[in-house]
Amino acid sequence: MAGKKKGQVRQIWRRLKKNRLAMFGLVILVILVLTALFADFIAPYPYDLQDYSSVKQFPSKAHPFGTDNYGRDIFSRVIYGTRVSLQIGFISLAVGALIGTILGTLSGYFGGRTDTVIMRFTDILMSIPKVVLAIAVASTLGPGLVNAMIAVAISSIPNFARVARASTLTVRDQDYIEAAKAIGAGNFRIIFRHILPNILAPIIVQATLGVGISIILAASLSFLGLGVEPPTPEWGAMLSAARTFIRDEWYMVLFPGLAIMVTVLALNLLGDGLRDALDPKLKT
Protein backbone atom coordinates (compact mmCIF):
# COMPACT_ATOMS: atom_id res chain seq x y z
CA MET A 1 0.00 0.00 0.00
CA ALA A 2 2.73 2.46 1.01
CA GLY A 3 4.73 1.59 -2.09
CA LYS A 4 1.78 2.25 -4.33
CA LYS A 5 1.14 5.63 -2.68
CA LYS A 6 4.76 6.65 -3.19
CA GLY A 7 4.57 5.67 -6.85
CA GLN A 8 1.43 7.75 -7.31
CA VAL A 9 2.99 10.79 -5.71
CA ARG A 10 6.05 10.42 -7.93
CA GLN A 11 3.86 10.17 -11.01
CA ILE A 12 1.87 13.26 -10.08
CA TRP A 13 5.09 15.13 -9.39
CA ARG A 14 6.47 14.11 -12.79
CA ARG A 15 3.35 15.45 -14.50
CA LEU A 16 3.42 18.62 -12.42
CA LYS A 17 7.09 19.22 -13.25
CA LYS A 18 6.25 19.36 -16.93
CA ASN A 19 3.78 22.20 -16.33
CA ARG A 20 5.95 25.30 -16.51
CA LEU A 21 3.32 27.71 -15.16
CA ALA A 22 2.66 25.49 -12.15
CA MET A 23 6.38 25.23 -11.42
CA PHE A 24 6.66 29.00 -11.72
CA GLY A 25 3.86 29.30 -9.14
CA LEU A 26 5.58 26.78 -6.89
CA VAL A 27 8.92 28.63 -7.05
CA ILE A 28 7.25 31.95 -6.18
CA LEU A 29 5.42 30.28 -3.34
CA VAL A 30 8.62 28.80 -1.92
CA ILE A 31 10.26 32.24 -2.14
CA LEU A 32 7.28 33.78 -0.33
CA VAL A 33 7.37 31.18 2.44
CA LEU A 34 11.13 31.73 2.87
CA THR A 35 10.49 35.50 2.93
CA ALA A 36 7.91 35.01 5.66
CA LEU A 37 10.25 32.79 7.70
CA PHE A 38 13.33 35.01 7.34
CA ALA A 39 11.60 38.40 7.30
CA ASP A 40 13.87 39.53 10.15
CA PHE A 41 16.95 39.07 7.98
CA ILE A 42 15.54 40.27 4.67
CA ALA A 43 13.75 43.43 5.74
CA PRO A 44 16.20 46.36 5.90
CA TYR A 45 14.22 48.09 8.67
CA PRO A 46 11.92 47.00 11.51
CA TYR A 47 8.32 47.17 10.28
CA ASP A 48 7.30 49.66 12.97
CA LEU A 49 10.32 51.96 12.86
CA GLN A 50 8.95 55.48 12.45
CA ASP A 51 11.29 58.08 11.04
CA TYR A 52 9.71 61.51 10.92
CA SER A 53 12.67 62.96 9.03
CA SER A 54 11.82 60.82 5.98
CA VAL A 55 8.04 60.82 5.67
CA LYS A 56 6.34 59.90 2.35
CA GLN A 57 9.59 59.39 0.48
CA PHE A 58 9.50 58.44 -3.17
CA PRO A 59 11.02 54.98 -3.87
CA SER A 60 14.82 55.18 -3.75
CA LYS A 61 17.87 53.03 -3.07
CA ALA A 62 17.43 53.39 0.68
CA HIS A 63 13.67 52.70 0.47
CA PRO A 64 12.92 50.59 -2.63
CA PHE A 65 9.12 50.94 -2.17
CA GLY A 66 9.26 54.39 -0.54
CA THR A 67 8.11 55.32 2.95
CA ASP A 68 4.63 55.88 4.38
CA ASN A 69 3.12 58.80 6.25
CA TYR A 70 4.91 57.77 9.47
CA GLY A 71 8.23 57.42 7.69
CA ARG A 72 8.10 53.62 7.88
CA ASP A 73 9.87 51.69 5.14
CA ILE A 74 7.15 50.22 2.90
CA PHE A 75 9.45 47.48 1.53
CA SER A 76 10.09 46.16 5.04
CA ARG A 77 6.40 46.32 5.85
CA VAL A 78 5.51 44.39 2.69
CA ILE A 79 8.14 41.77 3.65
CA TYR A 80 6.71 41.37 7.14
CA GLY A 81 3.25 41.44 5.63
CA THR A 82 4.08 38.16 3.87
CA ARG A 83 4.29 36.55 7.29
CA VAL A 84 0.93 37.95 8.45
CA SER A 85 -0.99 37.28 5.23
CA LEU A 86 0.33 33.75 4.68
CA GLN A 87 -0.41 32.90 8.29
CA ILE A 88 -3.98 34.18 8.09
CA GLY A 89 -4.53 32.49 4.74
CA PHE A 90 -3.14 29.09 5.68
CA ILE A 91 -4.49 28.81 9.22
CA SER A 92 -8.01 29.98 8.49
CA LEU A 93 -8.15 27.83 5.38
CA ALA A 94 -6.87 24.78 7.24
CA VAL A 95 -9.60 25.15 9.86
CA GLY A 96 -12.30 25.68 7.24
CA ALA A 97 -11.01 22.79 5.12
CA LEU A 98 -10.97 20.41 8.07
CA ILE A 99 -14.53 21.22 9.17
CA GLY A 100 -15.84 21.34 5.61
CA THR A 101 -14.21 18.07 4.58
CA ILE A 102 -15.54 16.21 7.62
CA LEU A 103 -19.05 17.59 7.07
CA GLY A 104 -18.94 16.76 3.37
CA THR A 105 -17.67 13.24 3.95
CA LEU A 106 -20.33 12.53 6.56
CA SER A 107 -22.93 13.98 4.22
CA GLY A 108 -21.87 11.80 1.31
CA TYR A 109 -21.28 8.66 3.36
CA PHE A 110 -24.47 8.57 5.38
CA GLY A 111 -26.77 10.23 2.86
CA GLY A 112 -30.44 10.59 3.79
CA ARG A 113 -31.36 13.05 6.49
CA THR A 114 -27.73 13.73 7.50
CA ASP A 115 -27.03 14.70 3.92
CA THR A 116 -30.06 16.97 3.67
CA VAL A 117 -29.27 18.81 6.91
CA ILE A 118 -25.59 19.35 6.09
CA MET A 119 -26.26 20.42 2.53
CA ARG A 120 -28.95 22.87 3.60
CA PHE A 121 -26.46 24.27 6.09
CA THR A 122 -23.93 24.86 3.30
CA ASP A 123 -26.71 26.39 1.18
CA ILE A 124 -27.34 28.87 3.98
CA LEU A 125 -23.67 29.83 4.23
CA MET A 126 -23.37 30.09 0.45
CA SER A 127 -26.38 32.37 0.12
CA ILE A 128 -24.52 35.08 2.02
CA PRO A 129 -21.64 36.83 0.24
CA LYS A 130 -18.36 35.94 1.98
CA VAL A 131 -17.59 39.55 2.88
CA VAL A 132 -21.08 40.04 4.28
CA LEU A 133 -20.83 36.82 6.29
CA ALA A 134 -17.55 38.10 7.69
CA ILE A 135 -19.25 41.40 8.54
CA ALA A 136 -21.94 39.45 10.39
CA VAL A 137 -19.31 37.50 12.33
CA ALA A 138 -17.43 40.69 13.10
CA SER A 139 -20.65 42.22 14.43
CA THR A 140 -21.10 39.31 16.83
CA LEU A 141 -17.50 38.70 17.92
CA GLY A 142 -16.16 42.19 17.33
CA PRO A 143 -13.49 43.21 14.80
CA GLY A 144 -9.91 41.92 15.10
CA LEU A 145 -7.37 39.46 13.70
CA VAL A 146 -8.61 36.24 15.31
CA ASN A 147 -12.24 37.02 14.61
CA ALA A 148 -11.42 37.84 11.00
CA MET A 149 -9.74 34.44 10.73
CA ILE A 150 -12.81 32.76 12.20
CA ALA A 151 -14.96 34.58 9.63
CA VAL A 152 -12.67 33.54 6.78
CA ALA A 153 -12.63 29.93 8.02
CA ILE A 154 -16.44 29.77 8.24
CA SER A 155 -16.82 31.16 4.74
CA SER A 156 -14.56 28.46 3.28
CA ILE A 157 -16.53 25.57 4.83
CA PRO A 158 -19.18 25.16 2.09
CA ASN A 159 -16.68 24.75 -0.79
CA PHE A 160 -14.90 21.93 0.99
CA ALA A 161 -18.12 20.31 2.11
CA ARG A 162 -19.34 20.19 -1.49
CA VAL A 163 -16.10 18.85 -2.94
CA ALA A 164 -15.73 16.23 -0.20
CA ARG A 165 -19.34 15.15 -0.55
CA ALA A 166 -19.14 14.75 -4.32
CA SER A 167 -15.93 12.71 -4.06
CA THR A 168 -17.28 10.58 -1.24
CA LEU A 169 -20.30 9.72 -3.37
CA THR A 170 -18.01 8.40 -6.11
CA VAL A 171 -15.96 6.12 -3.80
CA ARG A 172 -18.74 5.12 -1.38
CA ASP A 173 -20.07 2.24 -3.43
CA GLN A 174 -16.74 0.83 -4.55
CA ASP A 175 -15.66 -2.70 -3.79
CA TYR A 176 -12.98 -1.93 -1.24
CA ILE A 177 -15.48 -0.04 0.90
CA GLU A 178 -17.83 -2.97 0.56
CA ALA A 179 -14.97 -5.27 1.57
CA ALA A 180 -14.12 -3.15 4.59
CA LYS A 181 -17.75 -3.31 5.66
CA ALA A 182 -17.83 -7.06 5.14
CA ILE A 183 -14.95 -7.65 7.52
CA GLY A 184 -16.80 -5.59 10.10
CA ALA A 185 -15.04 -2.23 10.01
CA GLY A 186 -17.01 0.52 11.75
CA ASN A 187 -18.23 3.68 10.03
CA PHE A 188 -15.58 5.75 11.76
CA ARG A 189 -12.79 3.49 10.54
CA ILE A 190 -14.18 3.33 7.01
CA ILE A 191 -14.42 7.10 6.76
CA PHE A 192 -10.99 7.88 8.15
CA ARG A 193 -8.98 4.92 6.83
CA HIS A 194 -10.65 4.23 3.51
CA ILE A 195 -12.64 7.18 2.26
CA LEU A 196 -10.61 10.22 3.31
CA PRO A 197 -7.28 9.06 1.82
CA ASN A 198 -9.04 8.38 -1.46
CA ILE A 199 -10.77 11.75 -1.78
CA LEU A 200 -7.70 13.76 -0.82
CA ALA A 201 -6.73 14.79 -4.36
CA PRO A 202 -9.64 17.13 -5.16
CA ILE A 203 -9.45 18.51 -1.63
CA ILE A 204 -5.78 19.40 -2.04
CA VAL A 205 -6.60 21.23 -5.28
CA GLN A 206 -9.46 23.06 -3.59
CA ALA A 207 -7.16 23.95 -0.68
CA THR A 208 -4.45 25.39 -2.94
CA LEU A 209 -6.97 27.61 -4.70
CA GLY A 210 -8.72 28.29 -1.40
CA VAL A 211 -5.67 29.79 0.33
CA GLY A 212 -5.63 32.48 -2.35
CA ILE A 213 -9.32 33.23 -1.81
CA SER A 214 -8.77 33.36 1.95
CA ILE A 215 -5.85 35.77 1.61
CA ILE A 216 -7.95 38.10 -0.55
CA LEU A 217 -10.92 37.88 1.81
CA ALA A 218 -8.74 38.58 4.85
CA ALA A 219 -7.17 41.54 3.05
CA SER A 220 -10.66 42.84 2.18
CA LEU A 221 -11.70 42.64 5.81
CA SER A 222 -8.60 44.50 6.94
CA PHE A 223 -9.23 47.03 4.21
CA LEU A 224 -12.73 47.61 5.61
CA GLY A 225 -11.21 48.02 9.07
CA LEU A 226 -12.68 44.77 10.40
CA GLY A 227 -9.54 42.66 10.34
CA VAL A 228 -5.96 43.25 11.37
CA GLU A 229 -5.46 46.42 13.37
CA PRO A 230 -3.28 49.16 11.81
CA PRO A 231 0.21 48.86 13.41
CA THR A 232 0.47 45.23 12.20
CA PRO A 233 1.90 45.18 8.67
CA GLU A 234 -0.93 43.39 6.85
CA TRP A 235 -1.31 44.11 3.14
CA GLY A 236 -5.03 44.93 3.23
CA ALA A 237 -4.61 47.17 6.28
CA MET A 238 -1.67 48.93 4.58
CA LEU A 239 -3.86 49.63 1.54
CA SER A 240 -6.62 50.92 3.77
CA ALA A 241 -4.23 53.36 5.45
CA ALA A 242 -2.60 54.38 2.15
CA ARG A 243 -5.88 55.11 0.39
CA THR A 244 -5.98 58.73 1.60
CA PHE A 245 -2.64 59.44 -0.06
CA ILE A 246 -3.51 58.05 -3.49
CA ARG A 247 -3.41 61.45 -5.15
CA ASP A 248 0.27 62.15 -4.55
CA GLU A 249 1.89 59.01 -3.13
CA TRP A 250 0.87 56.31 -5.59
CA TYR A 251 3.61 53.92 -4.43
CA MET A 252 1.87 53.55 -1.08
CA VAL A 253 -1.14 51.87 -2.73
CA LEU A 254 0.79 50.03 -5.44
CA PHE A 255 3.17 47.69 -3.63
CA PRO A 256 1.00 46.04 -0.95
CA GLY A 257 -1.58 45.23 -3.65
CA LEU A 258 1.07 43.82 -5.97
CA ALA A 259 2.22 41.60 -3.11
CA ILE A 260 -1.31 40.21 -2.72
CA MET A 261 -1.63 39.67 -6.45
CA VAL A 262 1.70 37.86 -6.82
CA THR A 263 0.90 35.58 -3.88
CA VAL A 264 -2.58 34.67 -5.07
CA LEU A 265 -1.40 34.29 -8.66
CA ALA A 266 1.28 31.81 -7.56
CA LEU A 267 -1.33 29.82 -5.63
CA ASN A 268 -3.73 29.83 -8.58
CA LEU A 269 -1.06 28.67 -11.04
CA LEU A 270 0.00 25.88 -8.71
CA GLY A 271 -3.61 24.92 -8.00
CA ASP A 272 -4.52 24.73 -11.69
CA GLY A 273 -1.39 22.69 -12.38
CA LEU A 274 -2.14 20.33 -9.50
CA ARG A 275 -5.64 19.75 -10.79
CA ASP A 276 -4.31 18.82 -14.20
CA ALA A 277 -1.59 16.62 -12.71
CA LEU A 278 -3.98 14.80 -10.39
CA ASP A 279 -6.57 14.21 -13.04
CA PRO A 280 -5.14 14.32 -16.58
CA LYS A 281 -8.55 13.49 -18.01
CA LEU A 282 -9.87 16.90 -17.02
CA LYS A 283 -7.25 18.77 -18.98
CA THR A 284 -8.63 20.66 -21.97
Binding site: V132, V137, T140, L226, R243, I246
Partner: protein, 322 residues
Protein backbone atom coordinates in the same frame (compact mmCIF):
# COMPACT_ATOMS: atom_id res chain seq x y z
CA UNK B 1 -41.73 21.02 -14.97
CA UNK B 2 -44.23 22.50 -12.56
CA UNK B 3 -43.22 19.75 -10.18
CA UNK B 4 -39.61 20.82 -10.39
CA UNK B 5 -40.47 24.48 -9.83
CA UNK B 6 -42.56 23.57 -6.84
CA UNK B 7 -39.87 21.33 -5.41
CA UNK B 8 -37.12 23.90 -5.88
CA UNK B 9 -39.20 26.62 -4.19
CA UNK B 10 -39.97 24.23 -1.35
CA UNK B 11 -36.27 23.53 -0.92
CA UNK B 12 -35.57 27.26 -0.69
CA UNK B 13 -37.82 27.71 2.34
CA UNK B 14 -35.61 25.90 4.88
CA UNK B 15 -32.62 27.82 3.54
CA UNK B 16 -34.37 31.15 4.02
CA UNK B 17 -35.51 30.10 7.50
CA UNK B 18 -31.96 28.94 8.21
CA UNK B 19 -30.61 32.33 7.24
CA UNK B 20 -33.00 34.03 9.67
CA UNK B 21 -32.00 31.59 12.42
CA UNK B 22 -28.31 32.17 11.75
CA UNK B 23 -28.70 35.94 11.80
CA UNK B 24 -30.92 35.83 14.88
CA UNK B 25 -28.43 33.64 16.73
CA UNK B 26 -25.68 36.10 15.95
CA UNK B 27 -27.88 38.93 17.19
CA UNK B 28 -28.67 36.95 20.33
CA UNK B 29 -25.02 36.43 21.23
CA UNK B 30 -23.91 39.95 20.36
CA UNK B 31 -22.43 41.71 23.37
CA UNK B 32 -24.25 44.77 24.65
CA UNK B 33 -27.80 45.23 25.82
CA UNK B 34 -30.11 46.59 23.12
CA UNK B 35 -32.28 48.29 25.74
CA UNK B 36 -29.22 50.08 27.13
CA UNK B 37 -28.10 51.04 23.62
CA UNK B 38 -31.51 52.49 22.80
CA UNK B 39 -31.86 54.48 26.02
CA UNK B 40 -28.24 55.65 26.23
CA UNK B 41 -25.93 56.04 29.22
CA UNK B 42 -28.14 58.46 31.11
CA UNK B 43 -31.01 56.03 31.68
CA UNK B 44 -31.41 54.41 35.10
CA UNK B 45 -31.21 50.67 35.70
CA UNK B 46 -34.99 50.54 36.25
CA UNK B 47 -35.76 52.24 32.96
CA UNK B 48 -33.51 49.80 31.12
CA UNK B 49 -35.15 46.85 32.87
CA UNK B 50 -38.61 48.17 31.99
CA UNK B 51 -37.65 48.46 28.33
CA UNK B 52 -36.10 44.98 28.36
CA UNK B 53 -39.42 43.64 29.61
CA UNK B 54 -41.33 45.66 27.03
CA UNK B 55 -39.13 44.49 24.15
CA UNK B 56 -39.35 40.89 25.33
CA UNK B 57 -35.60 40.64 25.86
CA UNK B 58 -36.06 38.58 29.02
CA UNK B 59 -37.86 35.81 27.16
CA UNK B 60 -36.05 32.54 26.33
CA UNK B 61 -34.23 32.08 23.01
CA UNK B 62 -36.97 30.17 21.22
CA UNK B 63 -39.72 32.66 22.11
CA UNK B 64 -37.56 35.52 21.03
CA UNK B 65 -36.78 33.82 17.72
CA UNK B 66 -40.48 33.27 17.05
CA UNK B 67 -41.37 36.86 17.80
CA UNK B 68 -38.36 37.92 15.69
CA UNK B 69 -39.76 35.89 12.78
CA UNK B 70 -43.16 37.44 13.36
CA UNK B 71 -41.53 40.86 13.26
CA UNK B 72 -39.78 39.99 10.01
CA UNK B 73 -43.10 39.07 8.42
CA UNK B 74 -44.36 42.51 9.37
CA UNK B 75 -41.17 44.02 7.96
CA UNK B 76 -39.62 44.82 11.33
CA UNK B 77 -35.81 44.60 11.23
CA UNK B 78 -35.10 46.27 14.56
CA UNK B 79 -34.05 49.77 15.45
CA UNK B 80 -31.16 51.96 14.37
CA UNK B 81 -29.64 52.81 17.77
CA UNK B 82 -28.11 56.00 16.47
CA UNK B 83 -30.95 57.69 14.61
CA UNK B 84 -33.72 55.89 16.49
CA UNK B 85 -35.47 55.14 13.20
CA UNK B 86 -36.59 51.66 12.14
CA UNK B 87 -33.61 49.75 10.70
CA UNK B 88 -35.78 48.76 7.75
CA UNK B 89 -36.07 52.35 6.54
CA UNK B 90 -32.35 52.98 6.82
CA UNK B 91 -31.58 49.74 4.96
CA UNK B 92 -34.15 50.18 2.20
CA UNK B 93 -32.93 53.70 1.46
CA UNK B 94 -29.50 52.30 0.61
CA UNK B 95 -30.31 48.86 -0.75
CA UNK B 96 -31.15 50.18 -4.22
CA UNK B 97 -27.69 51.64 -4.72
CA UNK B 98 -25.96 48.38 -3.84
CA UNK B 99 -28.28 46.31 -6.02
CA UNK B 100 -27.82 48.71 -8.93
CA UNK B 101 -24.05 48.35 -8.61
CA UNK B 102 -24.17 44.57 -8.33
CA UNK B 103 -26.71 44.26 -11.15
CA UNK B 104 -24.76 46.53 -13.49
CA UNK B 105 -21.61 44.54 -12.72
CA UNK B 106 -23.23 41.21 -13.47
CA UNK B 107 -24.63 42.48 -16.77
CA UNK B 108 -21.26 43.97 -17.67
CA UNK B 109 -19.41 40.77 -16.83
CA UNK B 110 -21.80 38.66 -18.90
CA UNK B 111 -21.42 41.00 -21.86
CA UNK B 112 -17.64 40.83 -21.66
CA UNK B 113 -17.01 37.31 -20.44
CA UNK B 114 -19.27 35.21 -22.67
CA UNK B 115 -17.94 36.58 -25.99
CA UNK B 116 -14.38 36.44 -24.62
CA UNK B 117 -14.83 32.82 -23.58
CA UNK B 118 -16.37 31.84 -26.91
CA UNK B 119 -13.66 33.48 -29.02
CA UNK B 120 -11.03 32.02 -26.74
CA UNK B 121 -12.45 28.53 -27.26
CA UNK B 122 -12.92 28.62 -31.02
CA UNK B 123 -9.46 30.12 -31.47
CA UNK B 124 -7.77 27.88 -28.92
CA UNK B 125 -4.04 28.62 -28.37
CA UNK B 126 -4.21 31.73 -30.57
CA UNK B 127 -2.81 35.03 -29.33
CA UNK B 128 -6.28 36.21 -28.37
CA UNK B 129 -6.84 33.04 -26.35
CA UNK B 130 -3.56 33.49 -24.50
CA UNK B 131 -4.27 37.16 -23.76
CA UNK B 132 -7.76 36.31 -22.51
CA UNK B 133 -6.44 33.51 -20.32
CA UNK B 134 -3.75 35.73 -18.81
CA UNK B 135 -6.23 38.52 -18.10
CA UNK B 136 -8.65 36.04 -16.54
CA UNK B 137 -5.86 34.64 -14.39
CA UNK B 138 -4.82 38.09 -13.22
CA UNK B 139 -8.45 39.10 -12.62
CA UNK B 140 -8.82 36.07 -10.41
CA UNK B 141 -5.70 36.92 -8.42
CA UNK B 142 -6.38 40.57 -7.64
CA UNK B 143 -8.41 41.83 -4.71
CA UNK B 144 -11.22 43.82 -6.32
CA UNK B 145 -10.69 46.82 -4.05
CA UNK B 146 -7.05 47.06 -5.13
CA UNK B 147 -8.01 46.92 -8.80
CA UNK B 148 -10.44 49.75 -8.03
CA UNK B 149 -7.63 51.75 -6.41
CA UNK B 150 -5.43 51.18 -9.45
CA UNK B 151 -8.25 52.36 -11.72
CA UNK B 152 -8.58 55.51 -9.62
CA UNK B 153 -4.84 56.01 -9.90
CA UNK B 154 -4.96 55.78 -13.68
CA UNK B 155 -8.29 57.32 -14.68
CA UNK B 156 -8.78 59.90 -11.94
CA UNK B 157 -5.32 60.87 -10.73
CA UNK B 158 -3.25 60.42 -13.91
CA UNK B 159 -5.72 61.08 -16.74
CA UNK B 160 -8.25 63.01 -14.71
CA UNK B 161 -11.21 61.83 -16.78
CA UNK B 162 -13.30 59.85 -14.28
CA UNK B 163 -14.67 60.90 -10.90
CA UNK B 164 -13.17 58.98 -7.97
CA UNK B 165 -16.02 59.18 -5.50
CA UNK B 166 -19.80 59.27 -5.22
CA UNK B 167 -22.46 57.95 -7.57
CA UNK B 168 -24.18 60.74 -9.45
CA UNK B 169 -24.39 59.48 -13.03
CA UNK B 170 -23.25 56.99 -15.63
CA UNK B 171 -19.64 58.19 -15.46
CA UNK B 172 -19.53 57.36 -11.78
CA UNK B 173 -20.46 53.74 -12.41
CA UNK B 174 -17.57 52.92 -14.76
CA UNK B 175 -14.77 52.27 -12.28
CA UNK B 176 -16.79 50.61 -9.50
CA UNK B 177 -18.43 48.30 -12.03
CA UNK B 178 -15.07 47.26 -13.52
CA UNK B 179 -13.67 46.74 -10.04
CA UNK B 180 -16.61 44.60 -8.93
CA UNK B 181 -16.78 42.63 -12.20
CA UNK B 182 -13.14 41.56 -12.47
CA UNK B 183 -13.59 38.33 -10.51
CA UNK B 184 -16.88 37.47 -12.20
CA UNK B 185 -15.45 38.18 -15.65
CA UNK B 186 -12.52 35.88 -14.94
CA UNK B 187 -14.79 33.12 -13.63
CA UNK B 188 -17.43 33.32 -16.36
CA UNK B 189 -14.79 33.54 -19.13
CA UNK B 190 -13.05 30.40 -17.91
CA UNK B 191 -16.32 28.57 -17.54
CA UNK B 192 -17.54 29.59 -21.02
CA UNK B 193 -14.22 28.65 -22.59
CA UNK B 194 -14.02 25.17 -21.11
CA UNK B 195 -17.72 24.47 -21.66
CA UNK B 196 -17.47 25.64 -25.28
CA UNK B 197 -14.33 23.56 -25.87
CA UNK B 198 -16.16 20.50 -24.65
CA UNK B 199 -19.19 21.12 -26.86
CA UNK B 200 -17.39 21.91 -30.13
CA UNK B 201 -15.64 18.55 -30.01
CA UNK B 202 -18.89 16.65 -30.05
CA UNK B 203 -20.21 14.73 -32.98
CA UNK B 204 -23.30 16.80 -33.66
CA UNK B 205 -21.09 19.88 -34.18
CA UNK B 206 -18.86 17.95 -36.56
CA UNK B 207 -22.04 16.83 -38.31
CA UNK B 208 -23.26 20.40 -38.66
CA UNK B 209 -19.94 21.37 -40.22
CA UNK B 210 -20.02 18.42 -42.59
CA UNK B 211 -23.51 19.48 -43.64
CA UNK B 212 -21.84 22.62 -44.91
CA UNK B 213 -23.24 25.11 -42.43
CA UNK B 214 -21.20 28.25 -42.02
CA UNK B 215 -18.93 28.42 -38.99
CA UNK B 216 -21.02 31.29 -37.59
CA UNK B 217 -24.23 29.28 -37.73
CA UNK B 218 -22.51 26.24 -36.23
CA UNK B 219 -21.21 28.22 -33.29
CA UNK B 220 -24.16 30.52 -32.64
CA UNK B 221 -27.05 28.20 -33.43
CA UNK B 222 -25.74 24.81 -32.43
CA UNK B 223 -22.82 25.05 -30.05
CA UNK B 224 -23.75 28.08 -27.99
CA UNK B 225 -27.06 26.75 -26.76
CA UNK B 226 -25.50 23.75 -25.09
CA UNK B 227 -22.30 25.48 -24.05
CA UNK B 228 -24.12 28.19 -22.12
CA UNK B 229 -26.11 25.85 -19.90
CA UNK B 230 -23.38 25.29 -17.31
CA UNK B 231 -22.46 28.98 -17.55
CA UNK B 232 -25.90 30.02 -16.32
CA UNK B 233 -25.44 28.22 -13.02
CA UNK B 234 -22.29 30.17 -12.23
CA UNK B 235 -24.06 33.45 -12.89
CA UNK B 236 -26.23 32.96 -9.79
CA UNK B 237 -23.15 32.34 -7.67
CA UNK B 238 -21.39 35.29 -9.30
CA UNK B 239 -24.29 37.55 -8.34
CA UNK B 240 -23.65 36.70 -4.69
CA UNK B 241 -19.96 37.45 -5.25
CA UNK B 242 -20.84 40.75 -6.97
CA UNK B 243 -22.94 41.88 -4.00
CA UNK B 244 -19.94 41.18 -1.79
CA UNK B 245 -17.79 43.13 -4.23
CA UNK B 246 -20.20 46.05 -4.14
CA UNK B 247 -20.00 46.11 -0.34
CA UNK B 248 -16.21 46.52 -0.47
CA UNK B 249 -16.12 48.87 -3.45
CA UNK B 250 -18.64 51.24 -1.89
CA UNK B 251 -15.94 51.85 0.69
CA UNK B 252 -13.34 52.59 -2.01
CA UNK B 253 -15.51 55.03 -3.94
CA UNK B 254 -17.35 56.51 -0.95
CA UNK B 255 -20.69 55.38 -2.38
CA UNK B 256 -23.54 55.70 0.16
CA UNK B 257 -24.91 52.17 -0.35
CA UNK B 258 -25.84 49.40 2.03
CA UNK B 259 -22.29 48.02 2.19
CA UNK B 260 -20.70 51.23 3.39
CA UNK B 261 -23.61 51.70 5.78
CA UNK B 262 -23.08 48.25 7.30
CA UNK B 263 -19.34 48.71 7.74
CA UNK B 264 -19.90 52.09 9.40
CA UNK B 265 -22.66 50.55 11.54
CA UNK B 266 -20.31 47.84 12.87
CA UNK B 267 -17.78 50.45 13.92
CA UNK B 268 -20.57 52.35 15.69
CA UNK B 269 -21.81 49.10 17.34
CA UNK B 270 -25.15 49.68 15.68
CA UNK B 271 -25.77 45.96 15.59
CA UNK B 272 -29.47 45.60 14.79
CA UNK B 273 -28.92 47.56 11.61
CA UNK B 274 -25.97 45.31 10.70
CA UNK B 275 -27.92 42.13 11.17
CA UNK B 276 -30.96 43.49 9.39
CA UNK B 277 -28.76 44.40 6.45
CA UNK B 278 -27.05 41.00 6.42
CA UNK B 279 -30.44 39.33 6.43
CA UNK B 280 -31.78 41.43 3.56
CA UNK B 281 -28.66 40.75 1.47
CA UNK B 282 -28.82 37.01 2.17
CA UNK B 283 -32.51 36.85 1.28
CA UNK B 284 -31.95 38.69 -2.00
CA UNK B 285 -29.01 36.46 -2.96
CA UNK B 286 -31.06 33.34 -2.17
CA UNK B 287 -33.91 34.61 -4.31
CA UNK B 288 -31.62 35.40 -7.24
CA UNK B 289 -30.09 31.93 -7.00
CA UNK B 290 -33.56 30.41 -6.87
CA UNK B 291 -34.56 32.30 -10.02
CA UNK B 292 -31.35 31.26 -11.80
CA UNK B 293 -31.97 27.63 -10.88
CA UNK B 294 -35.50 27.80 -12.23
CA UNK B 295 -34.25 29.43 -15.40
CA UNK B 296 -31.68 26.69 -15.72
CA UNK B 297 -34.33 24.00 -15.56
CA UNK B 298 -36.39 25.91 -18.07
CA UNK B 299 -33.51 26.02 -20.56
CA UNK B 300 -32.05 22.57 -20.04
CA UNK B 301 -34.56 19.85 -20.93
CA UNK B 302 -32.32 17.24 -19.31
CA UNK B 303 -33.15 18.58 -15.85
CA UNK B 304 -36.85 18.26 -16.50
CA UNK B 305 -36.45 14.74 -17.77
CA UNK B 306 -34.21 13.80 -14.92
CA UNK B 307 -36.88 14.90 -12.53
CA UNK B 308 -39.60 13.17 -14.43
CA UNK B 309 -37.62 9.95 -14.39
CA UNK B 310 -36.82 10.13 -10.72
CA UNK B 311 -40.47 10.86 -9.94
CA UNK B 312 -41.48 7.84 -11.98
CA UNK B 313 -38.94 5.55 -10.38
CA UNK B 314 -40.02 6.79 -6.96
CA UNK B 315 -43.60 5.94 -7.78
CA UNK B 316 -42.51 2.54 -8.96
CA UNK B 317 -40.58 1.92 -5.78
CA UNK B 318 -43.54 3.08 -3.73
CA UNK B 319 -45.78 0.64 -5.58
CA UNK B 320 -43.36 -2.22 -5.08
CA UNK B 321 -42.97 -1.47 -1.42
CA UNK B 322 -46.70 -0.93 -0.91
Amino acid sequence: MLNYVFKRILAAIPVLLGVTLLVFTMLYFTEGDPARLILGDTATEEEVEALREELGLNEPFINRYISYLGGLLRGDLGIDYITGRPAKDEIMERLGTTLKLAGASIIFSILVAIPAGIISAIRQYSLIDIVTTVIALLGNSMPNFWLALMLILFFSVYLGILPASGLYGIKYYIMPVIGISAGAIAGITRMTRSSMLEVIRQDYIRMARIKGLSEFVVIVKHALKNALIPVITVIGIQFTVAVGGAVVNEQVFAIPGLGKFLVDAIKARNYQVVQGGVLVIALICSLVNLIVDLLYAFIDPRIKNQFRESAKSREKRAREEG
